[in-house]
């Protein structure tokens, strides 16, 4: 386990044929060691080498896919414990729980709630990805009927939840094509559940609340029977055990290469008790600390927006700042006399400046320059936010036709640019705004009250 590139190289054909798209076998071996390519990219590798190397090239946490087509949900395949080390690959997927003993009308409403859960933030479309259908009716026909209805009226991914294999079997006849997750194999039912997962080639959740030793040995037994796309549930329902179990599972998989726990995880934060806010708080901890799949009882908008935002924050690439599009943005309902401010397109800079302009309640224009995601000072230092660029942007965005005045407010930290901008933009006057965004409201209010414009 954990072979170096040189060690891996010994097992490769050493022909440098290039069929793997890398120039040499050594280059391929290096990529393999860094888990950046998969072994199947080499068509010539021997069976013996494959056996040794599959172990090495397998990700420490298996990639498991649910759902269909462009609504496929990928879980797992994480390689680090902390987000500053490397981007977390697959954002925690959210599911809404629907019990099959609700009325048809209630069920329809909940399905629509999932279908209408899309919100947009920083250019990303965020949604509740799945529906978890939970069997409470003890009636296979009812369970199957609701499952069928869900598949017919939503494109969401599906989790079929029952510890009774006959229930799952009844629902699968109608829904297997959606590639649902079967929840769950337990110590008691695992051979039947495993047989179903094998028959339909579906991922399977494994549940044991008797500790991680019991959970890992159950996962091992299921895998030995030939089902390898697993999702783990340790039965943790309160925040403390959730954090402890999810941390141990992630660490065991990544640091100890402990294969029986090298799978994505599922949590049910609402089952720990309390209302929608308590559920959301526990879900939040799951987003931060290693839950792959989060099943919620409540997805009201006021809960979703915070959870979506948290998920976006935690799963952002730490090496790649989030950016907003270069544009002339309206803040409030500005007119041709409203103040015009400029900043860079680092999303954090943009959001903070935008927020403070909103706080000022002065309708304004905010011109956002593409600085490749750098903040104002850094962008200026890297020459990505300079006078020629700013002048070009003013022309490109037709600012001179949109505002009547010719005054541009620049961030206080780049006051040094004012003379140069005025040279590049004849007829314009550059005003130096505050250094800190927090002082924008006062600046704008003072400016409008003294009618500087």
């Amino acid at each position: 386990m954990g072979l170096t590139g040189i060690q891996i190289f010994k097992y490769l054909p050493k022909t440098n044929c290039g069929d793997c798209k890398f120039p040499t076998c050594l280059a391929f071996a290096m990529r393999l060691a860094a888990a950046q390519v998969r072994l199947d990219a080499c068509p010539h590798v021997s069976e013996e080498a494959k056996k040794v190397l599959t172990e090495v090239s397998a990700p420490p946490i298996r990639l498991v896919k649910l759902g269909m087509g462009d609504r496929t949900i990928e879980l797992g395949d994480e390689t680090v414990l902390f987000r500053h080390e490397k981007k977390f690959n697959h954002p925690s997927a959210l599911a809404l729980l629907i019990a099959d003993n609700l009325t048809d009308q209630e069920i329809e409403q909940k399905i629509q709630q999932v279908n209408n859960s899309v919100m947009e933030r920083v250019g990303q479309k965020l949604r509740v990805e799945l529906i978890c259908l939970q069997e409470r009716s003890a009636d296979p026909a009812r369970f199957a009927q609701v499952a069928k209805k869900i598949v017919a009226s939503s494109e969401a991914g599906l989790i079929l939840s029952s510890f009774k294999p006959e229930m799952i079997k009844a629902a699968l006849a109608e829904t297997a094509a959606r590639n649902p997750l079967i929840y769950a194999a337990t110590e008691e039912n695992y051979s039947q559940m495993t047989a179903l997962a094998k028959e339909y080639k579906l991922p399977l959740a494994v549940f044991s609340d008797k500790g991680l030793e019991a959970l890992s040995s159950l996962a091992e037994k299921v895998a030995a029977e030939g089902v390898e796309d697993l999702v783990l549930d340790s039965g943790a329902r309160s925040s403390g055990r959730m954090l402890s179990d999810l941390t141990q599972i992630r660490r065991a998989a990544i640091k100890k290469k402990f294969k029986p726990l090298g799978y994505p995880t599922i949590i049910f934060p609402g089952e720990g008790g309390g209302d929608a806010l308590m559920e959301a708080a526990r879900a939040g901890i799951g987003i931060m600390k290693y839950a792959s799949l989060i099943v919620l009882n409540s997805i009201e908008k006021e809960v979703l927006l915070p959870l979506y935002t948290l998920r976006q924050n935690i799963f952002t690439d730490p090496q790649q700042p989030m950016q907003v599009a270069e544009n002339l943005y309206k803040v409030g309902e500005p007119n041709q006399d409203s103040p015009l401010l400029i900043t860079t397109n680092f999303s954090l800079t943009y959001f903070i400046v935008l927020g403070e302009i909103e706080n000022s309640k002065v309708p304004s224009w905010l011109l956002v320059a593409d600085s490749e995601g750098l903040s104002v000072l850094t962008a200026w230092a890297a020459d990505k936010f300079n006078a020629p660029k700013i002048a070009k942007l003013v022309k490109k965005q037709n600012v001179e036709e949109i505002v009547k005045h010719r005054k541009l407010i620049i961030p206080g930290y780049v006051s040094i640019l004012s003379g140069e901008i005025e040279e590049e933009l004849p007829g314009w006057k550059v005003l130096v705004g505050p250094r800190e965004a927090a002082n924008i409201p006062k600046y704008l209010r003072d400016m409008t009250s003294s009618a500087a414009l």
Binding site: E213, S238, K255, K256, A280, G284, K289, I314
Partner: protein, 317 residues
């Protein structure tokens, strides 16, 4: 394959800091693991939760979700503090002297001192005294108010690179703990702690402020900086990173529109009250997961929600 619990061995631990006076002292820090991981060692056992009050009535500046809770006590900092202590069960009160800022009333150090005195006599729980985040004015104000609060074991702040000497001198002279604020960067944070220590200040009395942000507005930066500070404290036994960390989240959280826009203005965002509370709760939990030891809230229900979650996190399973 037998499962063994994947424990980490840490070399360092977090300083334990005691604040407050008489029988109402509180401790924070002292943990020897990453947050709440009691399976591998001594996890954090107390996380004080504070509510913020101000020396001047913040109506207009604060979101209405907040001002409708506090109402008329906002005119009287001492009563406001008492309400937070008695009714909302805050473990500490955080008095932000917003009215000393040159653009926001420009109150004198003496006026601020009177308010500190009144608040201290109204409460038993420990007090955090913060300036208005104006480096020069804060230094002038703190000289006086630290003396007014002498021997109460309060926390004062925020010392920054440009005014830390004044803060360090008065914190030492009058027996206070010190919040050291730097600009969202692990190296700057460490450097300020080194400067403070080199100036003769006892590093055991420092509380790190890594610069809090809020959900959706830079949360991930604070989160990762705090996580890295904790890791270097525990794994590398870096004494200049082993201070408890404060999460001053109320101010940044209740500024953003997601926390305060009404449902009429933003129908797609749902009800404003729970949304705002959850915004503050998730921000707090993020920084607690990253190693925070003390949280300053503005909404009492956000505080009580986090208290319930903390009870779950600290329960031995």
């Amino acid at each position: 394959m037998a499962y063994t619990v994947p424990k980490e061995a840490y070399n360092g631990k977090i300083n334990q800091v005691e604040v407050g006076r008489n029988q109402h002292k509180l401790i924070m820090g002292g943990e020897e693991t990453l947050p709440f991981l009691s399976f591998e060692g001594k996890a954090v056992s107390t996380v004080p939760l504070a509510l913020e009050i101000q020396d001047i009535n913040p109506t207009g500046d604060w979101a209405s979700s907040l001002t409708e809770i506090y109402g008329s006590v906002m005119d009287n900092p001492a009563e406001w503090a008492r309400m937070c202590q008695d009714e909302f069960k805050a473990d500490m009160i955080c008095l932000r002297l917003a009215g000393t800022h040159p653009d926001n009333g420009d109150r004198s150090p003496q006026e601020a001192g009177k308010i500190v005195e009144a608040v201290l006599s109204a409460i038993k729980v420990p007090l955090i005294i913060l300036g208005s985040n104006h480096v020069e004015k804060d230094a002038a104000v703190i000289k006086h108010v630290a003396e007014v609060a002498a021997n109460t074991g309060s926390i004062i702040g925020k010392a920054q690179e440009k005014n830390y000497k004044t803060f360090a001198a008065v914190a030492t002279a009058y027996g206070h703990k010190l919040v050291a604020l730097s600009d969202l960067d692990i190296n700057l944070s460490k450097q300020l702690n080194i400067l403070l220590t080199q100036s003769g200040f006892d590093s055991k009395n420092i509380i790190i402020d890594a610069m809090s942000s809020t959900l959706g507005y830079g949360l991930e930066y604070t989160y990762s900086v705090m996580e890295r500070i904790r890791l270097s404290a525990l794994q590398q036994n870096d004494a200049m990173m082993q201070m408890p960390m404060i999460c001053d989240i109320g101010e940044v959280t209740w500024k953003v529109k997601e926390a305060k826009a009404t449902e009429q203005d933003q129908p797609a965002w749902g009800a404003v009250r729970p949304r705002g509370i959850l915004w503050e709760v998730l921000t707090a939990l993020s920084f607690l997961m990253a190693g925070g030891n003390l949280v300053v809230f503005r909404h009492p229900e956000a505080l009580s929600r986090v208290r319930s979650i903390l009870a779950e996190l600290m329960a031995t399973a």
